[in-house]
């Protein structure tokens, strides 16, 4: 049994998506990488809603599967990534389009995508709580998963230290 050959060549669907993205949005997006079944683009917070609307209406990515966040303390930035999938689109079932958006750690504000994808409600609430983000336009950013008496910085930031543990590190 030999391992199957690594699939590095892009299929027709991914090429079509890249072409449509570059023709419709032009220089406002940066393609971070494009691999089979997965494309990641980076946008600025101002263009986020427009890019997501374009992905939904023109590229037929009809659902947002997940919202993730990462803290980059060296860049002093927080990256929020929307992972878009498609159920209805022809040939898009396996492809995930990741729209990444970097905001500065000092003022972590970005527009909410709840008007475009209503399913990001809980995901954005979770990221707002775990990373201290502010999603403008989100209807409810109250306490969600953490304990009610949480009195510390958001725990998914790299600066977070567990109280009473790991003092030397």
């Amino acid at each position: 049994m030999s391992a199957p050959p690594a699939k590095t060549e892009l299929r027709q669907e991914e090429k079509a998506i890249l072409e449509a993205l570059s023709s419709k949005l032009g220089s406002r997006i940066t393609v971070a990488y494009s691999k089979p079944n997965r494309i990641k683009i980076i946008v600025s917070p101002i263009d986020l809603i427009e890019v997501a609307t374009c992905a939904r209406d023109d590229l037929h990515f009809d659902q947002c599967a997940n919202v993730t966040g990462t803290d980059f303390p060296k860049d002093k930035q927080i990256e929020v990534t929307y992972h878009l999938g498609s159920i209805e689109g022809a040939g898009l079932r396996r492809i995930i389009l990741a729209i990444a958006c970097r905001v500065p750690s000092a003022t972590p504000e970005l527009p909410s995508l709840i008007e475009v994808y209503p399913s990001v409600n809980y995901h954005e609430r979770e990221q707002a709580e775990m990373l201290g983000l502010v999603f403008k336009g989100h209807p409810n950013l109250s306490r969600f998963l953490l304990p009610e008496d949480w009195n510390d910085i958001p725990p998914m930031l790299k600066a977070y230290r567990l109280p009473g543990r790991l003092e030397g590190e």
């Binding site: 953490l146 725990p155 977070y160 543990r165």
Partner: protein, 182 residues
């Protein structure tokens, strides 16, 4: 032994005035009451408690699967009198903490423990409820459930085998058998 004590009472001050018989009876009254009333009552009460340990239906993590196996027909802890009480917390004697307890769950666990009537016992089941397990440096997992409730028996394992949990029940029954009525 009685003769010795009579001798002591006779030689002690004030012993001649009361007479030897009354002194012995008064001096040994506590032991007599202990042996005649308290010990049988303690035995009876403990006997009743041992064979009706009813755990709370509180499932915090994946160890509850093993507890389900213990309650099931193959391992069948009901033959030792351990039967999950689904009705009310007021009927429960035992809380088995099934695994991980988060910081958000900890006040709820204490709340449930406080609602149970005395006497009540606690078994910490699994590595997570003893020390936090693999989540020991997590921001939201309690490093040991004994910070919240007093624990009688610890059952290590990830998860413990059903036989180990049954062994913990038997250990707890031994502990109850030796306890005194308050």
């Amino acid at each position: 032994m009685v003769a010795e004590q009579v001798e002591m009472k006779k030689s002690g001050p004030g012993a001649a005035r009361d007479g030897p018989g009354l002194s012995i009876l008064v001096g040994k009254a506590k032991e007599v009451i202990q042996q005649a009333i308290v010990d049988p009552l303690t035995y009876l009460a403990n006997w009743g408690r041992i064979y009706s340990l009813w755990p709370v239906h509180l499932e915090t993590a994946c160890c509850s699967i093993e507890f389900g196996a213990v309650s099931g027909p193959r391992f069948d802890c009901e033959r030792y009198g351990i039967l999950e009480a689904f009705g009310s917390l007021r009927q429960c004697d035992l809380v088995v903490v099934h695994g991980t307890v988060t910081r958000k769950m900890a006040p709820r666990l204490r709340w449930i423990y406080d609602q149970m009537p005395e006497p009540k016992y606690c078994i910490a089941m699994g590595a997570c409820s003893i020390t936090g397990g693999v989540y020991f440096d997590s921001y939201n997992v309690l490093p040991g459930v004994d910070q919240v409730v007093p624990v009688d028996v610890y059952v290590p394992g990830c998860p413990p085998r059903p036989e180990e949990l049954i062994d913990a029940f038997l250990l707890l029954q031994d502990k109850i058998r030796k306890q005194k009525i308050r």
